[in-house]
């Protein structure tokens, strides 16, 4: 430790970065336990965790749960009846090709989770870097970066995604990229606001006085105070990404070879499942989308309560 400074926040996470390595490991463990203990009290949060774990498990074990090793395999489709309502054989019925909706649904969880997590990561990294730079360096860089952020906040988000996706073309990676590069502005705003308030604190001043460089100040003193906010925001971002993914897929901008809930709905719509009252073809992926988004939303709310108690008056 080169700098002795006061510990401005005693809440979880923020002290992890400020102690020696050994101490940090101990603190991390202790903090995690503390967060987990507080988190467990939230009923909504725990419900979210249960639902999320369910989908993570089914996504990992999709090949074993479902009857296909490869969801695009048409072998099964030829044998099965088309538009069969749910039976003991086909728990969620079959679709227009005679594919088993039960099997497809679990493969769909894979697509949603991967897109949700990776796209949010891209957007968090972009947003945090932009917010940190703007907030820390101030003046002209801040002005430019914040005008950019405002501009992207003002542009309606879905049309922008549609436009970029249609220019890039249909592929799984493109969906991730499009969602990642259109959803960073909110993170940038949150990070900047927090940086601005942390920057004025005494310990940053002191660090500068003993000769710490910008990189060190940002990584050791500012980041730890910004991360809890970003962390709680992440789960909401993932929920949004999953939402966007299903929408892009439905809009015909997703990868047609990857089974996802959005493409399942798109196909159900294009093959007029609604006119045959093939509700299972819509209800299965639909319920999963809502459940997964709801799970992330509930976890996010609970985390927000635990990590940023000061923001909540109630």
């Amino acid at each position: 430790m080169s700098v002795q400074h006061d510990k401005p926040r005693n809440d979880p996470l923020s002290r992890i970065f400020t102690e020696s390595r050994k101490e940090r490991a101990r603190l991390l463990l202790a903090n995690m336990k503390k967060i987990a203990k507080q988190f467990r009290k939230s009923r909504g949060g725990m419900l979210g965790v249960c639902v999320l774990s369910f989908f993570v498990l089914t996504a990992i074990f999709a090949p074993w749960i479902s009857r296909y090793d490869d969801p695009n395999d048409e072998e099964w489709a030829r044998v099965n009846p088309d538009f069969s309502p749910p039976t003991l054989d086909f728990l969620f019925g079959t679709d227009h090709f005679g594919r088993d909706v039960f099997s497809l649904t679990w493969y769909g969880a894979r697509a949603s989770l991967i897109v949700g997590v990776v796209a949010s990561l891209i957007s968090i990294i972009l947003g945090t870097v932009i917010g940190l730079c703007g907030g820390y360096f101030g003046k002209l860089p801040d002005e430019i970066l914040m005008r950019l952020t405002d501009f992207f906040l003002v542009i309606p988000w879905f049309p922008l995604m549609i436009v970029i996706a249609s220019l890039l073309g249909r592929s799984f990676t493109n969906v991730i990229i499009v969602i990642g590069i259109t959803s960073w502005p909110s993170t940038a705003r949150i990070v900047r606001a927090q940086v601005l308030s942390v920057k004025e604190k005494g310990f940053v001043e002191r660090a500068r006085a003993v000769g710490s460089g910008s990189v060190r100040i940002i990584s050791r003193h500012i980041m730890p105070n910004v991360l809890p906010l970003v962390f709680a925001n992440t789960t909401l971002l993932i929920a949004n990404s999953i939402f966007s993914e299903s929408f892009l897929d439905f809009f015909g901008l997703g990868d047609p070879t990857v089974v996802s809930w959005g493409t399942m709905l798109e196909e159900a719509y294009n093959w007029e499942a609604f006119a045959r009252f093939a509700w299972w073809q819509i209800a299965a992926p639909g319920a999963c989308i809502v459940a997964l988004i709801l799970a992330f939303y509930l976890i996010g709310e609970a985390l927000d309560d635990v990590l940023n108690p000061k923001l909540r008056r109630r």
Partner: protein, 325 residues
């Protein structure tokens, strides 16, 4: 110092103008500079040499990028957006876009008005009965609809209606529309508009009531509420005169921020119900790679959101004496 309303409007207007200009430039950048092959984007596949020549001349594709930019700006300001390359092949974009935009405005306008009205009422009632049965059931419902993508909800309605009734589900009027009298025509249109509006309103109500509820709960836990109770005011009076005016301010801001969101919902709903507005146009244009149409639709959607935000800013300024910008 609170500046005069006129100065405020002027400042906001300049801001709006600059943003719109930036969006046009962004549009140019996205569609003309970013793609590797601009001709793929602006000229129909398998067009005759004559057409290629005419369009190259029209867009100035042989000129350097800055000149193209000037040409683009001139065309945008005069409403000359080129022609559709596949979905409505050969038609002038500017002549088709107006009817589509008008239909979207109608859908979004009716939908927003209804959902603000009902959303605020529902949010108020749930916040007032916080923690009671009505609030718990109501809030859970809002949350589920809030997390449900609009297209999914619309698809569920479509499935129900298509399977159990003869209610029209596609387009804006029936096949025999031309043979109906004035009242019949109106009824027919209304019938076709009902489902899209319903889907949009339910989805948007959820958002607005969640916002109103949390904003009102914030206000209700303030200390001047205790004072009001201590003064012996009736519950209804407290709600109406003390809590709601303060709770409404964040609602106005958030409603404005959500205009883009409502528009996105409208896009999905138009697709599901084949309602021929901007969203449906975007959808068909995307499916047939009709970039000139996508470009204009995108610009109109962006400009609409900016103008809506501008109006909300003015409303907020008029409502809240504390706003100083």
């Amino acid at each position: 110092m609170r500046q005069s309303f006129r100065m405020y409007v002027l400042k906001r207007l300049i801001y709006v103008a600059v943003t719109i200009f930036l969006i046009m430039s962004f549009n140019f950048l996205l569609f003309r500079v970013m793609p590797a092959d601009v001709t793929r984007i602006l000229i129909p596949k398998g067009a005759s040499n004559e057409t290629i020549e005419r369009l190259t001349e029209f867009y100035g594709l042989d000129d350097p990028i800055p000149v193209q930019y000037v040409i683009f700006l001139k065309q945008t300001f005069t409403g000359d957006f080129g022609e559709s390359i596949s979905f409505l092949k050969g038609e002038e974009v500017s002549s088709v876009i107006v009817t589509y935009t008008a239909k979207t405005l109608m859908l979004v306008g009716i939908g927003t008005a209804l959902s603000i009205f009902f959303g605020v009422i529902l949010g108020r009632e749930t916040a007032w009965r916080r923690g009671k049965m009505f609030d718990r059931v109501g809030s859970s419902f809002f949350l589920i609809f809030y997390c449900m993508p609009t297209f999914l909800f619309a698809l569920l309605i479509l499935t129900m209606v298509a399977s159990f009734s003869d209610w029209p589900i596609k387009g804006e009027y029936s096949a025999d529309y031309q043979h109906l009298d004035i009242l019949g025509k109106l009824a027919d249109r209304g019938q076709h508009l009902l489902l899209p509006v319903f889907a949009l309103v339910i989805e948007t109500i959820a958002t607005f009531s969640i916002i109103t509820r949390s904003s009102l709960i914030d206000v209700l836990t303030e200390e001047y509420m205790v004072t009001a109770v201590a003064k012996g005011l009736r519950g209804k009076d407290i709600l109406k005169h003390h809590a709601m005016p303060n709770a409404m301010l964040p609602v106005v801001t958030v409603v404005a921020m959500n205009v883009g969101w409502i528009l996105s919902g409208a896009i999905m709903i138009e697709v599901i119900f084949s309602y021929q507005g901007l969203g449906y146009l975007t959808y068909r244009a995307v499916l047939s790679y009709d970039y000139p149409l996508i470009q204009v639709a995108f610009m109109l959607e962006a400009v609409a959101v900016i103008i809506a935000n501008f109006i909300a800013d003015l409303a907020l300024f008029a409502l809240d004496p504390r706003v100083k910008i």
